[in-house]
Symmetry: C2
């Protein structure tokens, strides 16, 4: 099962970037992992995308085309608030079903437009609290890693 993580631009916070790299390296023991830092939409375009909810923008359409063969998980505050055990069970289920590719999309803090969110197979929330995009990326990687350690009964620091 391949796991693709897609987000806009490079993670700016040095420590969170280091955490990201650390968990990316650890995760490679469990899954084929691809992190794709796509070109950020202009601020203007991002603002418009959130407010203009009725239809998908051209960059969003191109992004959906890129991930059309995967199961699409968008990180969004309006999504499911799972425990790590629930998330891990879901990961295991995907592997059991022979899912080829999981795609995780981390957006801007403003979130995704309603029209774009409708394209997700799953909306997932990490916390009710607001996380910067850098925190969300690092924590998502940590939780995917934790999910696999739970599935495999692998020891993991508490």
């Amino acid at each position: 099962m391949r796991i693709r993580l897609i987000w806009e631009g490079r993670t700016k916070n040095t420590q969170l970037r280091a955490l990201e790299e650390d968990y990316t390296a650890r995760l490679k023991h469990f899954a084929e992992l691809v992190v794709e830092e796509i070109r950020p939409a202009s601020k203007q375009a991002a603002r418009e995308a959130v407010h203009r909810n009725e239809r998908i923008t051209a960059p969003e359409r191109r992004l959906l085309e890129k991930v059309k063969h995967g199961y699409k998980v968008f990180l969004d505050a309006s999504g499911r608030h799972w425990t790590s055990e629930e998330f891990s069970a879901w990961l295991g289920e995907q592997a059991l079903r022979g899912r080829q590719e999981l795609v995780f999309l981390v957006g801007a803090p403003g979130g995704f437009s309603a029209a774009f969110k409708q394209q997700a197979d799953l909306l997932l929330a990490l916390s009710r609290m607001t996380l910067t995009r850098d925190w969300a990326r690092a924590l998502l990687l940590e939780q995917i890693y934790r999910g696999f350690t739970i599935l495999r009964g692998y020891p993991y620091a508490k």
Copy 2:
């Protein structure tokens, strides 16, 4: 308003420790901040404390004595799941009421015993997902910082 953060032992993960230090430094613009790394309970004692729920242990009693003048917030998965805005509003309310001291206690991932939890003025959860103690410390500091930036209308990275 003084903010005391109390936890057992030094944060081990280098990056999360650096994040902790970064947010500690930033928070000093907003509040008097004290981080106290207390001596960890023995593993045996910690295990016993969680299972023996009927009464408070001697180290817990000493800890409660140390913080008896403060408003006690224990981080616990069974606590309130607030948004950052709700947490920020609560912080502002504490300051308005002239609260002298807020004490945040971050425990082991096993959590606190039921008897000890009853001593809290507030139980607070950062996420339904399990966080290592190192992650919980860094994220708590980040959310306190975010809370103050919301209260003061201070610009903060997204």
